[in-house]
């Protein structure tokens, strides 16, 4: 389920900063008593990452090099499971076994940002051949005890903490800032560096440690096994397809007057369809004002929950476990009549505007020193965009079907000062509505309009919500552009391909 979250309370456990004393690792490794419990340790590896994070404020730059460590574990032959955020934007990955000093180069085989999971492979698996695989278990019971194993901050050796399962809930995943899935809260201390490590119960993996909470002590969160299993199933065909979504916003039917209007008795099931997204799976099937009563044969209560395996969970959980192309039967009431329909799940790319993007180079184009970039969560955060019309376009991008007309919302992000644009700095932060009367739909189109074969006398650039247009003269623009790029040390005037 994708959502537009304005505040995120979770913190990603992230990567602990790179430590300097790697040689201290194998000193006492041989002295370890070989018990069954510690056998498993060898399959839990330390992951050292060097990452290059793209810069959305200076998109032509190479980005900042950073690094850190996380945890991963072996689940089958040459398949190490870890968090997506541990290896996002990675340029070099090294895996170290418990009790060994050797660093094994590894690479990302699959990465699923929406559920914060990734699969790594080492170049040479031979040294790992004899290690046991960790098997994936089920959802642990509330109050049952679990062990968290990993390489958190505060030392270089493996660390084990214990805790109990304190809550099973549907919560935001901080990595993309836009996804919500099932989450299990435990009271074991989970710290930076623990990320990607297994949470074990009776020798089986019951979760992957991944995030904490800034406002509370002793709360750690793990990705439960239904999410892990779904990820593993999704990649069976060799590629990851992302989560599916219904593409609607619902409203709970608690209000007695509302129930009366929709002819619902006290215990009748159903939630109200408040909005749906054009081109989403329910477009053409559900309408605003329909009462959705059943999904996949399961009754939806007035709070929007369904029962799965004896637990009441958000109805999104049904779609959460499905894949692209899967069909879901829906029961709904329209104008007092019960109806049924079947929807086919398909990826819905427009919602990615709300997800933090990784592993992608930011797109931009520069003309006359004006820097244009498509709006994204990354850009929004990097530039702290505050223009009210831009905020509104961002907030209503899906619900008002803005994406249908404007695949990209183009923002004038910067003015690289030059004589041609001396008076244009004030336009920074606005969204571009049209240029010379043509509505702007995406960055490629904007790039083409600003780089025609014959330059017009003026580019009349209209910004959303501004009555005074921005005027850029066309004369000598190519020459001027070249000079500006040279002055500001920018190699390419644009980067467009996604």
């Amino acid at each position: 389920m994708k959502l537009f979250l304005s505040h995120i309370i979770c913190i990603i456990l992230g990567l602990s900063s790179t430590s300097a004393s790697a040689q201290a690792l194998d000193i006492s490794a041989k002295q370890k008593v070989e018990t069954k419990a510690s056998d498993i340790y060898k399959s839990i590896v330390r992951i050292e990452v060097t990452a290059q994070n793209p810069s959305y404020s200076n998109p032509w730059n190479s980005g900042k090099f950073t690094g850190g460590t996380g945890t991963g574990f072996l689940i089958s032959k040459n398949t190490f499971l870890t968090n997506a955020h541990v290896v996002s934007n990675a340029r070099r990955i090294l895996i170290t076994m418990h009790g060994s000093a050797r660093k094994h180069p590894a690479r990302v085989l699959h990465i699923a940002h929406d559920c914060d999971l990734a699969i790594l492979q080492v170049d040479d698996f031979t040294p790992f051949e004899k290690l046991p695989f960790l098997s994936i278990g089920n959802v642990p019971q509330l109050e049952s005890q679990v062990r968290v194993i990993g390489y958190p901050v505060g030392g270089d050796r493996i660390s084990v903490t214990r805790g109990v399962v304190s809550r099973i809930d549907f919560r935001p995943y901080a990595h993309t800032r836009a996804d919500q899935h099932l989450v299990i809260q435990i009271d074991a201390a989970i710290n930076p560096g623990n990320s990607g490590g297994p949470v074990l119960q009776n020798g089986k993996v019951v979760g992957v440690a991944f995030q904490g909470l800034t406002s509370a002590d002793n709360t750690g969160y793990m990705i439960p096994t239904p999410v892990v299993k779904r990820f593993l199933k999704d990649i069976e065909d060799g590629s990851y397809d992302e989560y599916m979504q219904l593409g609607l916003t619902n409203f709970t039917l608690f209000n007695p007057a509302m129930r009366k209007v929709y002819n619902l008795k006290q215990d009748d099931p159903g939630i109200l369809v408040a909005r749906f997204y054009k081109d989403g799976p329910v477009d053409g099937i559900l309408k605003e004002g329909d009462i959705l009563t059943k999904i996949d044969g399961k009754s939806i209560d007035s709070a929007g929950s369904v029962e799965i395996d004896g637990e009441r969970v958000n109805m999104s959980e049904i779609v959460e476990r499905k894949f692209a192309g899967d069909k879901i039967p829906l029961n709904f009431i329209r104008d007092g009549k019960e109806q049924t329909a079947e929807i086919t799940l398909k990826p819905f790319s427009a919602s990615s505007i709300y997800s933090v993007q990784y592993g992608k180079r930011p797109r931009y184009t520069i003309q006359g020193g004006l820097v244009f970039q498509p709006l994204s969560r990354n850009l929004y955060a990097a530039l702290r965009l505050s223009n009210p019309r831009v905020r509104r376009l961002f907030a209503k991008y899906l619900t008002e079907n803005i994406f249908k007309e404007r695949k990209d919302i183009i923002i004038l992000t910067k003015v690289l000062d030059a004589p041609i644009n001396s008076y244009l700095t004030g336009f920074t932060g606005n969204a571009i509505e049209s240029i010379n009367g043509t509505k702007i739909t995406d960055i490629d189109q904007l790039h083409n309009i600003l780089n025609p074969e014959t330059m017009p006398e003026h580019f009349v650039i209209k910004c959303d919500g501004l009555n005074r247009p921005l005027i850029l003269p066309g004369k000598d623009l190519q020459k001027i552009n070249k000079q500006i790029l040279q002055t500001y040390g920018i190699k390419n005037a644009s980067y467009l391909s996604k």
């Binding site: 409203f251 009366k260 408040a274 003026h458 501004l466 009555n467």
Partner: protein, 487 residues
């Protein structure tokens, strides 16, 4: 335009201060005001009393700043020796020009004032003219600070965006008991009222005498009308490329008209968005909006309208439209308030409580209540309406919105709904709070109210009977009234 720095008049040395005889009709004013609580509009905040000085300008007419009299629940006039205190009332007030005229209400007090000689209004001063600012200390001592005129500028003092001619005076003032509304005199005639003081620069701003004169003429000529306006929003034309696109030659100045207020003076005269204003009554306007005034050098164009003309008078505008020179005669009017009022002084915010849903009319003060960072903190739906009222004007007098929801049995499940603009109730378009009250009188045959919103949820339903029960409980819990339909 220059930002006004209003600071308290503490800790200043008193080099230029001398004691003087009290031969001027100075009076102390003490004004108690109470503002409405923006988020709970049925109640007022704690009362605040401010003290200042007024000066007699006519028969039972004491002039002071609008700031002194705004939202006043009680005004009292005192002689400087504190021997007599006299209840008073506001007879004319102009928030935009920051001027107010008050009178004492009781006959003996009126007789007392009749014994004083009102001051005359000074002629416009010249640069470097000497002037005196008058303060009254707690013990009745009159403090006089000498200063000199440094310049004239068109500034906003009390209501944002309303620019009036003011004089800058270099003077070093000290703190005194009455820090509001300090009269500035020239040759014992009233030059202006102090509206701002920068302690760092030792500069005072005082309303220009011609503004005071216009205000007094208006106030003494039947019902107070107020200063005129053109009803345009402008943008400067400094950018040479913008100028070339507008076909403005180098010999021209010009202001780009980016918005024309609906039903304003310019709108009625056929001025269009995109026109370039070149001159007002033959005074050429430069690219930054200044014209050459006879006595004070460059002054902002607004003075040619608000400071020089009366409502109902005509001005001639030279306009460049699509490269063509045209002339338009405009009959000046008061600027239409629009659907979102710029200030609510002297008015009570209208509201309606229905079963726990709180409906209000959007005002500038409502948004400002989100604090210093209101431009980023206030709800985006309301901010957008404030920034682009023209997109919301149709069928509306005011912008009615559901400000928040108090949990009751009637609003079960709606607790999180807030800041949603209301379009219709029970099928009727909502133009303002009175029309909302009217619309709620007719629920459907099942006793259900339908509220249509411009939000995530388009329709909200409320059971009329349950809502009435909840409303009755509000009254029991001490709410004075479920609605206010008069501003």
């Amino acid at each position: 335009m220059k930002p006004i720095i209003i600071s308290l008049l503490f800790a200043l040395c008193s080099i230029a201060t001398t004691a003087a005889q009290n031969n001027l009709p100075l009076l102390r004013i003490s004004s108690t005001s109470q503002k409405y609580n923006i988020s709970q509009p049925w109640e007022k905040k704690a009362a605040v009393t401010i003290r200042g000085i007024g000066i007699l300008v006519g028969k039972n007419q004491i002039i002071t700043t609008a700031q002194m009299a705004a939202d006043a629940t009680f005004i009292e006039i005192e002689t400087t020796d504190s021997k007599t205190s006299m209840p008073a009332k506001t007879i004319a007030i102009d928030y935009k020009a920051n001027l107010a005229l008050i009178s004492v209400t009781e006959t003996p007090h009126q007789e007392l004032l009749a014994k004083m000689t009102p001051v005359e209004i000074a002629a416009n001063p010249k640069l470097d003219d000497n002037v005196q600012a008058y303060q009254v200390e707690d013990n009745g001592k009159i403090l006089v600070t000498n200063g000199s005129i440094r310049g004239a500028d068109v500034t906003a003092s009390f209501v944002e965006g309303q620019y009036f001619l003011a004089f800058q005076i270099k003077a070093s003032m000290q703190g005194a008991a009455n820090s509001f509304t300090i009269p500035v005199m020239k040759d014992d005639k009233l030059l202006g009222l102090l509206t701002g003081y920068s302690a760092e620069e030792q500069l005072l701003d005082a309303t220009a005498p011609e503004i005071i004169r216009a205000f007094l003429n208006d106030a003494n000529n039947g019902e107070y009308i107020g200063f005129p306006s053109l009803g345009i929003d402008i943008s400067r034309t400094i950018d040479p490329h913008f100028r070339s696109w507008l076909k403005l030659t180098d010999s021209h100045g010009g202001l780009f008209i980016k918005h024309v207020t609906r039903n304003g003076a310019a709108h009625k005269a056929g001025i269009q968005q995109g026109d370039v204003l070149l001159a007002i009554d033959g005074n050429e306007i430069d690219r930054k909006g200044y014209y050459k005034s006879k006595n004070y050098g460059p002054l902002y164009w607004m003075h040619l309208i608000a400071g020089s003309k009366k409502t109902g008078e005509k001005v001639t505008l030279n306009i460049l439209r699509k490269g063509e020179n045209i002339t338009k005669e405009v009959t000046l009017t008061k600027r239409p308030e629009g659907i979102i009022p710029s200030h609510m002084f002297g008015k009570a915010p209208r509201y309606l409580i229905k079963g726990g849903l709180i409906f209000q009319e959007l005002t500038y003060s409502y948004l400002k209540a989100y604090g210093d960072k209101w431009k980023t903190r206030a709800p985006i739906s309301l901010l957008d309406a404030f920034n682009h009222p023209e997109d919301y004007e149709k069928d509306r007098q005011r912008l009615v919105f559901l400000s928040r929801t108090i949990p009751t049995e009637a609003t079960l499940g709606y607790e999180k709904i807030s800041s949603a603009i209301v379009t219709k109730v029970n099928g009727k378009k909502i133009a303002d709070i009175p029309s909302l009250v009217e619309a709620f009188k007719t629920p459907d045959k099942n006793g259900i109210h339908t509220i249509e919103l411009d939000g995530k949820l388009k329709k909200l339903y409320l059971d009329a009977a349950t809502a009435s029960t909840a409303d009755a409980n509000f009254l029991k819990r001490g709410l004075p009234s479920l609605s206010r339909t008069k501003e």
